[in-house]
Symmetry: C2
Subunit: 315 residues, 2 copies
């Protein structure tokens, strides 16, 4: 059976993963999800990218925001604010249930991989295997400009709304981390490895940095497996998230081609939007074959169409 | 300034404490609250009796249930149920905020006493000092009949709804516990020490068992301070909670007088309902002076009236 493995972050990744499910037909689909954004808030363990993928694939996601359950309310956060609690990491009442469940299961000794499988099962996701990249505790930190020092990614992303320039990204704990059970095996068995349109530094980057992952991908490529990516940038900008700003702040070109500088020779097939057609030659210089298609995922159909184009080019 | 110290458990205790505030006038009022019921659920630290007292004294309590915030919703619990989580300990969306805040502050190194003071301040309680009995972790466990073994009090109280007979009560961790800062000092400075109409085994009992508390009360009594209690039983039954059943299951008489068997010589003045007037001689045999007054706290006025009667007899 054809086996497809996708590496994903949050909103963009979850949407593309949903498209992949539609496009994959009978193929086996695994989504390896970034956990560098994970954070403990009020004693609760939160895994934002895993949750976004879970919510998207189970169909409960708030389509407008792209994350969190649809129709969520924030009564607990409102009460917490009255109690003087920190509420910049806004947890909806429905969303909280996921964090309570995760925290409880982890306290009972289950691993993030087991917790994710249980949540997926309860949410009715049976056709896609969602795997956290590692069961080890890792944390993405970013260094802020102007001597403001290092902060947890969520401090930069949620609390400061990415409104401050950065000059470095570090995934802490990776040296002692190992890939979650099944991750390297899935890559070894893959017929295509896809990089979702997620942030190259703080979504795909941490996954690629998990010990063994890059080697497993290189091994797969040597036996002819194609690594195909969708550009997270369209016309030099992102639909959501700070990828474009981070590219220029970290010394790369803020364009679809600039993303390939970060991926440094890893990508064989690269999907770009028609507006970026002019970057084709540059993309080829990075060793990737450009594929041009509407990269803006408009609704479920747009997601599926994009995934079909990429799959066709990759398989 | 006159100083009044009340020992309290949950619903009955919180109502009487509210009456005391009305009745105390310019006197200083401290409420020492049982923490034996405290429990960690889904990683959140919950202090049910402290919260009930906080909610009652701040006026946000659901008057009908007697605990939890008024108008609370259970959206998180409903979502948690769909995720297969344990929901027998039902946490409302507003209530959850209190537990998130407590858990966060404890994680930051604050003590239960400090957390309680902060929550009280945020809830606008400035005229009553609410003190958890201890900052040490203690847990009330009950032994179920028929070889079912020992369970945490909440397992018996909430999960099993007290529908199973018990044969023992144990407050674990007391030997290593010490009274919270200010508790022994408050008792030493008290002009009256009041036992609220709370469960003698699992509400007042744990407070009296905290090392130093019983000694501090005895010392106060030797200097003439009156220990006055309100019977938690009226006509052999309780308004709320399992005190009557526990009395008979543990070998005591299930009556207002039976409660004094448990308090074993500690009570000087004992308020009973007119329906229990016939127990006066028995109460005197336990060394207490009976005071007869409507012990059913009907609304805020009923609470205040009851407190006034007890205070008058005690001061």
């Amino acid at each position: 059976m054809t086996s497809i493995v996708a590496l994903a972050g949050g909103v963009g990744g979850s949407r593309f993963a949903r498209g992949l499910r539609s496009a994959a037909g009978a193929a086996e689909l695994s989504v390896i999800v970034n956990t560098g954004d994970d954070v403990t808030v009020h004693g609760l363990r939160i895994s934002p990218d895993v949750d976004t993928v879970l919510y998207a694939l189970s169909g409960v996601v708030d389509e407008k925001r792209g994350w969190g359950p649809r129709g969520d309310t924030f009564r607990c956060m409102e009460a917490l604010e009255r109690l003087g609690g920190e509420t910049w990491f806004r947890l909806g009442d429905l969303d909280l249930a996921t964090h309570l469940r995760r925290t409880e299961l982890l306290a009972q000794g289950e691993t993030p991989t087991q917790v994710t499988a249980e949540l997926a099962r309860r949410l009715g996701i049976h056709d896609v295997r969602i795997r956290p990249m590692t069961d080890s505790p890792v944390e993405t930190w970013v260094e802020l400009r102007d001597e403001q020092g290092w902060v947890h990614f969520q401090e930069y992303f949620v609390h400061r709304r990415t409104e401050v320039a950065i000059r470095g990204v570090q995934v802490r704990g990776l040296a002692e981390a190992s890939a979650a059970p099944g991750v390297l095996e899935a890559l070894a068995a893959a017929d295509a490895i896809l990089l979702c349109p997620s942030n190259p530094f703080v979504s795909i980057g941490p996954i690629l940095s998990v010990p063994g992952v890059r080697d497993a991908i290189d091994t797969a490529r040597r036996r002819g497996v194609c690594v195909a990516a969708v550009s997270p940038l369209i016309g030099g900008a992102t639909i959501k998230g700070p990828a474009a700003r981070m590219l220029s702040e970290l010394g790369y070109t803020a364009s679809a081609a600039g993303v390939l500088e970060v991926y440094a020779g890893l990508v064989d097939v690269y999907l770009i939007d028609p507006v970026d057609r002019g970057l084709s030659a540059e993309i080829e210089r990075h060793g990737a074959r450009p594929v041009v298609a509407d990269a803006l995922m408009r609704g479920r159909r747009g997601e599926a169409r994009l995934a079909r184009v990429l799959l066709k080019a990759a398989l």
